[in-house]
Symmetry: D2
Subunit: 458 residues, 4 copies
């Protein structure tokens, strides 16, 4: 159903989901569309919006980027003053329209739409026992389980139903629920995924990142706290903390890679955190070289930080083609590695004869990096010293990030030296776990480090 | 989501649904596509196919005609040797993709897809009590209730679950269920809607009308009987008759209007039945005229019957534009009634100066007929004597036909003489109920006549 | 560029072109669209419209049916009160957008658009000498030559330029020219192709067939005469006859096959002519059979004529699927001949056990007919006696009809008996040339019979 | 015909055209597609490719970006080993498909396709005299005149015809001609627009910028010289210099703005030239501020240069949304200036409380800059000092750049101080003409400075 004619250049670490909701705005659907647009980097697979006009909840969703799924006619039909939106890169459930969110159903109390960022870890057992009771499932999403638990609750008040339902699930969830006359935001007790609250004149806004507040010129109020349920309705905002406290487990990768540099997450700025990662990298692993070049755009901030800490000149020696993502690639037999070449082109006059520090934010499979490094060498680079602004990834994420399997993670089975040789580098250094934590704007114990250490919080 | 660029010229009586299933064919999805194509006249709103390869059930559905929803790539992805298909004109549930069928879900016993032709009359209560138990609904289709009842049954065997579920619903249903390794056909005890069984080499086929057997060169075996459940699987065909006998209530409108003239329904031929309606009309209501002209194509058979019984020459004096349905209509201010004009053009040299018997199969709102008659007069017709091959419609259908409301049914509030004057005719005669039943190939008591008499079988 | 999703079921004799023009109407483009829509049967490959608002001539054309090429937005942009339209089945020039018409260019006197129905026979020499002078060609259409001749003329008045240009070309041409402030209609001196004049309130209309006048409720005035040039502008209508008289050569196939039965062409009705062909066929070649069935829809009129003349009952024993043309055909290995089956389905109950006269309007390659006859036999026909309402085609057409090559014309290399055997018929009879001419509403010497006799008028 | 669903965010100075050709490559069309893809920034309105297989020249073109116009099926149909491609932002001729290039026609010597970058200044007279001779024009492109002149030449050899034709035209032209068996590159004697020659194994390549060589991994040989005609065919490469020498007039704006920073043009690197512009700016117009922020991506290089020369830290304080260009903007009443906001978002934590030097490459109308500056102030910037890396634009370009009219050019009617106030800046400084020329890698007299000085070279 997605007519998207191009093969997207998926980043190695595929992103997860972005969620957005607004209460009390006459253009709720259009605002939500803009919010999703700002969060698009969090998921390119599907997009959806559900709205309520106080009586009726309707929705539209489709495969593709938000602008491919929505057009002005569709947005106009989505009339209402409450809305919830979702963009998605599948982490559980296969890549089909039925797995797109928001997931909108009718239950005994009326319509409910749910938008979920994160991944549950105990859905198999829950689903099985729900099916024994007679529940039928339309999707393979873990999020559908939450709605069934909500529907099966025999409590009356929605908050009691929610508490009963969420009390049974384990894992990562930042959630926005849309009811006929309420918007509800939830963050799991460990706080894996971000969720913030903003205001725009008389409207309240919930969003994964603050960049979605910026685009609609809303102002940031605060983050939803781990384990908090926030209910926004006619009566205003109510905050509940019904769950037992848990040790926090904020996803450190949101700082390193996922979030936009112009966002705040977990109440802290991303840009500064990334620059600090670059600085730590320069302190830990200096290089005897001429210039610092970041891998655009994900290595930009760390590259600047490295340059500042080392005093080595910063050059934007790799040019990104702005039309990438809008093209298809015609396989031409004679060209290997065309995908890489099309996206980024080194500036020969900058690179030629130089010893280069190349700053990257991560290496996952290593195959793409290898081709790029080959290209830079062909463009005349004398030496390439790669500096990676996080430690090596060795373990899969259970909480909503679609890492490759362990077999595919180059760092899970190879030493740094083996990777260096594979990539064709003069030197290769990863940031240490200590250095990474030192660069973070929050204490180290607040974070989930499972993908680096294998210590899973659940 | 429907990219259909034209405004369809919907027939006044909107059609309902067509269903098709095949067991044991390597090209099950393609065969089903062809079956739906042959049944397309039964519903132009949405189309869908679900297939099983014995392990996995997958599906695809969309808004629009079957050829708009499916293309060779999609059919190829639907690999499997069992399939069920559905085309639909909404009678219950609004016109949205989520209401398209087959309805495909997972329940405790695995996946099930359902295709439904007909309309249930007691879903409101059933749905409410299911929701109290915690069931959640994704659509507004009455058919979804059947699946929930199936899922909630505590019986083990699928036939016992089915009997328990269907024992609770009342109304019209011809159903095809697709399970991983079974195809199941059901017809309600009153037998409102048709469903037939055919064979194609080693495959079994279920279809609403025999024209869907013809297109794939399958041969007709027999009709599914009212109240019969037919289970097709590895063990062959089993037939169950678990429900108490009910007085039959075959939809007489299938003979008069809905089915294709090259089909057999309720085990009898449609073409001959329609010709016989025309003959009865000539006996009951002869006209002093020069030629008989049918309204193409729906009045063709009755027109031939009228001509034969009256001895008056038959002329195809109205030419149908074969591109209609493929166009949009540009509103040109200076033209009223363009829609009618575009579709049918009278042949001036045939009509000029003639007294014409115009044979129609029904008059619903009367507005379109009025414009046509005006056109024929302008093309030179001296007199127009309309003969309608069924009695006047006065009551809505509860069993799956989307008649206009009573207010819109011209015959529910006007006398024959008032309608004649409204349409601008010299004479107007409807066929009597007795004449209609006399023309039928089955005894009168087999039929539901509710739309003519208001006596509803349920 | 053509997004047409289906494989059209092209008729064996591919049609040619249809042209339409209107002078002095505020919705000139929309009117022209409707005119093309009525003429769509004359060409399904491309469609185009050019309009003038008195100052500027603009146009739009594309591959596909008129409704596929135009939408309300495009029509609205084509503002002006003069318009010319064209639909096309390529006879010369390949099947590309650049060969679509109207052909719109600028020359020394301003813009001119041309729409051409027919085929010239001396373009090769003309083109070569134009190129020597420095003319450049954008298309492979013979019509482009006419525009170059017009541009190269050193005369001043447009009529003198036209006379000089057309004086150099030989062959078949019905033409409409659009200039900034004039509409000009031309028919070649032999009058191969039809062109008629109509009026709609204060507007003048030119069209290939009268069915295009009917759709816009214009009234028919007269045919453009062979060799006539008609100039419509502010000063009213002027008629010129500048060319030496030639023996007329009206295309007899327009009556037999091409034109719509509700049209008048060459000032005579098509429906009556076709019925008369059927009557002649019954007189010449009666059959000992039970019923007459026409091949729908092209054999309908002749079938009625045959039935009336023979007294044998007329049955519509073959049902045409109205969705054909809107589908694609999924190749299913197990089905041969699916294309034929999908389009037409015999009514078993009518055919079974019967001796049938099957009335066709032509046999070209014979391959499709053969499959149909096989289908009818499989549906139970006892005997099939085919009657063809024209003589066998043995020669290609040079004047705008896209017959197959001689090798492909079954009648050019086989006897009637060989064809009968190939088709699997009990008997086969073609109408004689004498019978055909007897049925025509004009004297025999008015017609071009080249495709039957090989005597080419040029 | 362009189905592009979004409103592109056109840069204020609309770009012009990009051309590409290849001789002797089995995948000529696909290679050309990649070349156009790399040159896409030079024109987003239409794209086209023509190919020759040595016998036949065919082409395809359409409105939109190259990936919207071409897909693998179309490229596959364009088989041949010679190709020429073109992408375009209309400078002359209106925005219609007929004005897309390559312009492909037949003349007496066979087919020829032409791709043109630049703008002629004497076409009106040439066109008028050609029309008097009988030439007809299909487009409003100045490039069509060149083909007519070629066709009208009475010389035999293609080079003589070309010399005769080009001898008559004045203005800016970099041209690639495709004949059945030849590829010809031309640059006008003043050399306004770039054109370079590369090689890829046994193939020769012509392209507007070297980034199009990089993408296909061809290597750069040299620039085509001003006034040079290069003929590539079976015999190899021949170079002609038939025209009298003229003072060079290279477009300085190619260095400042148009070309990609990873390209070489006029045989010099763009990245270094832009950095040098930034350095000159820092020398000429230092600022008392805290950080340097470039307007991404066009101000990046100059921003780096400014930072290096001034010693002030460089921050990427404005984040570009990578999905822009792929979205539509839903007008939401409550938001002014949404277009600007959607594209670029300032990083609040970087900007807050800071005195900022904002480096831009040009100000044309000023309206967009004004909104951006307002956004930065709202994000907390204490002071904004804008530095523009070229002098103010005061005059229109006659040679192929689509500047706004004089009325729209803010610098043509306002003083620097007025612009500063309008934009809401603390200080505003443009680079001087002297500073600009000093930064260039070629002597000042080689350039056309007409848009700054009003001294037009022709």
């Amino acid at each position: 159903m997605n007519q998207n004619p191009y093969t997207p250049f998926s980043r190695s670490l595929r992103e997860e989901c972005g969620i957005f909701g607004i209460y009390n705005h006459p253009d709720a659907a259009s605002i939500t569309y803009l919010g999703l647009y700002a969060l698009q980097h969090r998921g390119e697979e599907s997009a959806g919006i559900a709205v309520s006009d106080g009586k009726r909840v309707i929705g539209h969703k489709g495969m593709g980027l938000a602008p491919e799924v929505f057009d002005p006619d569709i947005l106009q039909k989505l009339s209402g003053h409450l809305a919830v939106g979702h963009i998605r890169y599948s982490t559980t459930g296969s890549s089909e329209l039925k797995n797109a969110q928001p997931f909108l159903v009718e239950y005994s109390q009326g319509p409910v739409a749910i938008a979920h960022n994160g991944n549950l870890v105990n859905t198999r057992e829950l689903r099985s026992s729900l099916e024994q009771r007679g529940s039928i499932f339309q999707s393979t999403m873990d999020s559908e389980v939450i709605v069934h638990l909500l529907a099966c609750s025999q409590k009356q008040a929605i908050e009691d139903r929610l508490i009963e339902a969420l009390g049974q699930v384990t894992g990562a969830y930042s959630l926005i629920f849309l009811l006929k006359d309420k918007l509800i935001g939830v963050r799991d007790p460990r706080g894996f995924r971000p969720l913030c609250l903003g205001a725009l004149n008389g409207s309240y806004v919930l969003a994964s990142e603050t960049c979605a507040l910026d685009i609609i010129q809303a102002h940031y109020i605060r983050d939803i706290e781990p384990g908090e349920i926030i209910i926004i309705d006619e009566a205003g905002i109510r905050s509940l903390h019904p769950f037992p406290k848990q040790k926090h487990a904020f996803c450190i990768f949101e700082f390193i890679y996922f979030s936009r540099p112009d966002s705040m997450i977990f109440s802290k700025g991303v840009y500064a955190a990334r620059k600090e990662l670059g600085r730590q990298l320069a302190y830990e692993s200096p290089a005897d070289a001429d210039i610092v070049i970041p891998m655009p755009d994900s290595g930009n901030c760390a590259g600047l930080g490295f340059s500042e800490a080392s005093g080595m000149p910063f050059e934007m020696g790799i040019i990104r083609n702005h039309y990438v993502g809008r093209t298809f690639i015609q396989p031409v037999q004679s060209f290997r590695d065309l995908r890489v070449k099309i996206k980024l082109n080194p500036v020969r006059e900058v690179i030629e004869g130089k010893r280069i520090v190349l700053v990257e934010d991560s290496i996952v499979r290593g195959t793409t990096s290898r081709i790029r490094i080959k290209n830079f060498k062909e463009a005349g680079a004398r030496e390439i010293h790669m500096r990676v602004s996080c430690p090596p990834h060795r373990y899969p994420c259970l909480y909503g990030i679609d890492f490759p399997t362990r077999e595919e993670l180059v760092a899970s089975s190879h030493t740094e030296e083996e990777i260096r040789q594979f990539l064709g580098l003069e030197t290769l250094r990863y940031l240490s776990i200590e250095g990474m934590l030192k660069a973070m704007p929050l204490p180290g114990e607040e974070f989930c480090l499972a993908c680096f250490t294998g210590n899973y919080p659940t």
